[in-house]
């Protein structure tokens, strides 16, 4: 704040805000630029009161600049507020341009009188637009650019030649030998069938659990689904073997040891119908 002077319009003073003004300053960034470039002009006001917005700020004369935008923001802290007005400007004429101070009209809370506060002034140095150097441009276009193009073509040619010389030598094909008959393809045994084979060969709880797990996986059972959920599915209801296999493996998985062998024996037939005959029988 550079100065403040008594305000001269007593009628308007009744509408003014009573303020403890701590700071009323203006700054520009950058202070030196060319025509066509942009600068930010900031007017910062700090007062002791809590304000949502600050009126009665009169912007300075900005002739010689074109305004590209204006933003106002007040932030309130524990004690007091800070209001910042940021203008984005671009100079239109070269030369040193002094921006006059902004003014704020308020009632000075310290004196109770209407006062016009004035901010500092800001001087901005504006240079004209750069003049192109036609001699250097002609030199670049006439000599340096063709030389660079030739250099690039030569480099690509050398790289291609080097790569061709290092190519792998063709290997002579081995003499033909009497072709052995191809081995018979290994039979692809579905996982469920191999697990059922294992269960039939070794009727243990672990094998029963493995079959149950594979059966559930094969029909896409989710981990929270129980037997009742699976049996309630439309697809399961129409498949008697699947239904029987699900029930039988469930019993084999959870019946007590004395019932385990009987439960597995009950489970094998529907599982066989579902998974197919034993792998040896297929071979």
């Amino acid at each position: 704040m550079d100065l403040f002077a008594p305000f001269v319009a007593p009628a308007a003073a009744q509408q003014l805000v009573r303020l403890h003004v701590r700071q009323f300053a203006m700054s520009a960034d950058p202070l030196s630029l060319r025509v066509g470039e942009t600068l930010r002009l900031r007017i910062v006001t700090r007062v002791d009161e809590n304000l949502l917005e600050l009126d009665n700020v009169t912007l300075p004369d900005l002739s010689g600049f074109e305004s590209l935008g204006d933003e106002r923001q007040c932030t309130t802290a524990y004690r007091g507020s800070q209001c910042v007005e940021t203008m984005t400007l671009t100079p239109t004429l070269p030369g040193d341009r002094t921006i006059a101070g902004a003014t704020l009209e308020a009632i000075d809370a310290r004196t109770g009188r209407a006062v016009q506060f004035s901010s500092n002034t800001v001087t901005v140095h504006v240079e004209g637009e750069p003049v192109p150097n036609y001699f250097l441009q002609a030199l670049f276009d006439g000599l340096i650019r063709p030389f660079l193009v030739l250099l690039l073509v030569a480099g690509v040619g050398c790289a291609a030649l080097w790569g061709w010389r290092r190519r792998p030598k063709p290997v002579a094909p081995p003499p033909p030998v009497a072709a052995a008959p191809p081995p018979p393809p290994a039979p692809v045994v579905p996982p469920l069938r191999s697990l059922v084979d294992a269960l039939a060969a070794e009727p243990t709880r672990a094998n029963a659990l493995a079959v149950r797990g594979e059966l559930r996986r094969s029909i896409g059972a989710r981990e929270e689904e129980t037997l009742a959920d699976l049996r309630a599915r439309k697809a399961t209801r129409g498949d008697a073997d699947l239904d029987a296999a699900l029930r039988a493996t469930e019993i084999a998985a959870f019946a007590d040891d004395s019932r385990l062998q009987g439960a597995i024996a009950d489970a094998i037939p529907p599982l066989r119908r579902l998974a197919g005959p034993p792998a040896e029988a297929v071979l």
């Binding site: 981990e223 929270e224 689904e225 129980t226 009742a228 019993i251 998985a253 959870f254 007590d256 019932r259």
Partner: protein, 310 residues
């Protein structure tokens, strides 16, 4: 007793002949009877809650008492009291209606907490202390209570400690249209008779022994523990999870369900089916449940569904 035990399915069929629809409710009643626990039925008026309890009591050929819980009820009205006999000059004990095989506590939440608490000892210890004397209750002893969730005026919320004593809380919902038509046909004229002495008290005691012997795989026991543990995990609406009594309840109900189905081993279906009835009254919900208008039953269902089955 001739040594032949009537299967529990017979009792269930007899109840289904009397109470139209509500198959799940009747199954829960019989399972709780087999598991040796107490039952609370909750549902709007007119859904045959009292009828189901009365039918259960009369079908089991034991003694049956009914107490209509009211705000002016006293503990002595339940358990009994001591009366001074002027002629003999001595105190005599008059036993209350709690001394029965089946006690129907109708609208249990209409009595104040001190009366509800009078049932605590009876339900948990299966004995009643009147003055200096302690009296054992008959076996089996089952409390079947009913509650109406709609009328909150003039009711007293049951303390969690008491709710925990109920093995199951069964929700009774409105019947389907075809069931309601059957209700109209059956109850439109004379009141149908209740099933009487379909099974004996000895049958019920034998079922309990059989249920204890039902095989529960260790993986199923872990599943039951995981279900209860899921209620204790941090949750937006659950303030306090279920107690270990809930785990015991799920296991007992799963065994009872297996027995009712004619099996001597339990399946994951038995455990999961037992969980809602055993858990819903043992969870303490926070205020956000009310403000967000969330159905507590939905939370119980989601918690159960979040636990993988073995």
């Amino acid at each position: 007793m001739n040594g032949v035990v009537t299967p529990p399915r017979v009792l269930l069929d007899a109840l289904a002949d009397t109470v139209v629809g509500q198959e799940a409710v009747l199954e829960s009643l019989v399972q709780a009877l087999i598991a040796g626990g107490h039952i609370v039925l909750e549902g709007p008026p007119g859904l045959a809650k009292t009828l189901a309890c009365r039918a259960l009591a009369t079908a089991v050929g034991g003694s049956f008492k009914r107490v209509q819980f009211t705000p002016d009820l006293l503990p002595s009205d339940i358990v009994g009291t001591r009366i001074f006999d002027q002629r003999s000059g001595e105190f005599t004990t008059v036993l209350g209606p709690v001394f029965a095989n089946v006690l129907l506590a109708d609208e249990i939440n209409r009595a104040p907490a001190k009366v509800q608490s009078a049932l605590l000892e009876a339900m948990q210890e299966r004995q009643v202390t009147i003055g200096p004397q302690t009296f054992p209750l008959p076996e089996p002893f089952v409390v079947t209570a009913t509650m109406n969730p709609l009328d909150s005026e003039g009711t007293y919320a049951l303390p969690l400690a008491q709710m925990d004593r109920f093995l199951v809380k069964v929700l009774v919902d409105y019947p389907k249209p075809d069931e309601e038509e059957r209700i109209l046909q059956r109850f439109g004229g004379a009141q149908p008779a209740l099933p009487e002495n379909v099974v004996s008290v000895a049958d019920v005691l034998a079922w309990r022994d059989q249920a204890h012997a039902v095989h529960l795989e260790p993986r199923l026991a872990k599943y039951a523990v995981a279900l209860v543990a899921a209620t204790r995990a941090p949750h937006d609406y659950v303030e306090r999870g279920a107690s270990p009594r809930a785990t015991l309840a799920i296991a007992a109900l799963a065994r009872a369900r297996a027995l009712l189905d004619g099996r001597d081993f339990a399946l994951p279906d038995d455990v999961r089916a037992a969980a809602p009835d055993a858990l819903r009254h043992r969870l303490a919900f926070n205020y956000r449940l009310l403000t967000d208008h969330v159905d507590p039953e939905r939370i119980v269902t989601d918690l159960i569904a979040s636990v993988p089955t073995p």
